[in-house]
């Protein structure tokens, strides 16, 4: 495929060959993604209502190509994390994210999804979905008004415009690792933290012995 694109009919210096073809391709690629970013129908809390309002008649985000909300992660491109991420829910959120096909984007809508929000101090609340998922756009507000959400989505589109096939993370040589699903133990545990956790347990054990 790239070979074909690399024969445009005039001389391209050998060291430039990749780059030229890819930029044209990037444009098409970005254009395609930009206008067909389907969000997942995935509401968590209060912000979800504003998300529904944004999808409804008055604000209508299908004007931006976000045509319909897909209830299945398999058909979605954008995960709008709209609301408080609780510890009980976070394993499911991570699983849903893992099930989404690439390219995929995450938008943290509202204070809760960005950083815990007003409920941050609660015992069942995760301080922001970015503790687990890579977030592309953060939209402050509690809740962000539909217009603020639209602004955030436009920011996402702007970001898509700057991406290049060459360096987006899903077209690298190695396959992307799925994000490990957190565990609900006595408290929420992230498998990526297990080594540190073991250290901590050992430290507290020695502490107890000494005491």
């Amino acid at each position: 495929m790239s070979e074909k694109l690399n024969t445009p009919g005039y001389d391209v210096p050998p060291e430039m060959q990749d780059v030229v073809a890819i930029t044209t391709l990037d444009k098409i690629y970005n254009w395609g993604r930009r206008y067909s970013a389907w969000p997942m129908m995935f509401g968590l809390a209060c912000c979800a209502i504003e998300m529904i309002c944004t999808a409804a008649a008055r604000f209508d985000f299908s004007r931006f190509g976000m045509e319909i909300m897909r209830p299945s992660p398999r058909q979605a491109d954008v995960m709008l994390v709209s609301g408080t991420v609780t510890k009980k829910m976070v394993p499911q959120i991570v699983r849903l994210y893992n099930q989404m096909p690439e390219p995929k984007y995450v938008v943290a809508m509202g204070a809760c999804a960005s950083g815990g929000g007003p409920f941050k101090e609660g015992y069942n609340v995760v301080s922001g979905v970015d503790k687990f998922l890579p977030v592309d756009v953060y939209i402050p507000g509690c809740p962000p008004t539909p217009q603020a959400l639209l602004h955030g989505l436009m920011k996402l589109q702007e970001m898509m415009d700057t991406q290049s096939i060459k360096n987006v993370r899903w077209y690298q040589k190695e396959p992307l690792d799925a994000i490990p699903i957190p565990i609900l133990g006595p408290d929420l545990l992230d498998p990526r933290d297990f080594p540190q956790f073991a250290e901590k347990m050992a430290a507290s054990a020695t502490e107890n012995k000494e005491a």
Partner: protein
């Protein structure tokens, strides 16, 4: 007749469909991208297409609208910033999710507190836009902003607003909340007058 209800319902949908075209003919170009067009679509008579074409069109923000807070400063004759905030800490105390941090400044010589905040932080990832800070500030120094276009790519570096980012001129405040600022201005003037009168009596 079976199916009558469905037909009736379809009639309603049909009417909704035509309403837009009827309105388009009635209003012509004025229906879109004009202030009166938006006002019509927000009014009780709105019919047909309801969409506000953000970002080209925007819903007007009502005066009371609140998003994240900001700090108001006046300008004195020399063009210097005079921050209204005296760092009394009332907003930090009433803030329900406790997202305001204020560092009081002290006079380096005497060590006494000076009524200016040395630093003022608001974590907008916690802020619940409730407006208590603005409601209870006795100096009209912290107010709720109308700007909602705050989306960012990185929250760790952006979303704890510091004093620089929070400060906005009083003229801006007067612009977004004309009625409230006038009211507060009058109240302050009255207070001043009373104070002056009390001084005279002495």
């Amino acid at each position: 007749m079976y199916g009558k209800g469905i037909l009736k319902g379809l009639g309603v949908t049909w009417k909704h469909f035509w309403d837009t075209y009827i309105d388009d003919i009635k209003w012509g170009k004025k229906r879109y991208h004009t202030e009166e067009g938006i006002a019509y679509r927000m009014s009780k008579d709105a019919r047909g297409l309801f969409t506000v074409q953000y970002p080209e069109e925007r819903l007007p923000t009502p005066e009371e609208f609140r998003f994240v807070p900001f700090l108001v400063y006046d300008e004195d004759e020399g063009g210097e910033q005079v921050i209204r905030c005296t760092s009394c800490g009332i907003c930090a105390k009433v803030c329900p999710p406790q997202c305001i941090w204020i560092e009081r400044s002290t006079n380096p010589k005497t060590g006494r507190p000076v009524p200016v905040p040395a630093e003022f932080y608001i974590d907008v990832d916690i802020c619940m836009n409730c407006g208590f800070c603005a409601e209870f500030c006795p100096f009209d120094a912290i107010k709720m902003d109308h700007d909602y276009e705050l989306a960012v790519y990185d929250r760790l570096t952006n979303n704890i607003y510091d004093r620089e980012k929070l400060l906005k001129p009083a003229a801006y405040y007067d612009g977004i909340r004309p009625l409230n600022s006038q009211k507060e201005f009058d109240a302050r003037a009255e207070k001043e007058a009373k104070k002056a009168a009390a001084k005279k009596k002495k």
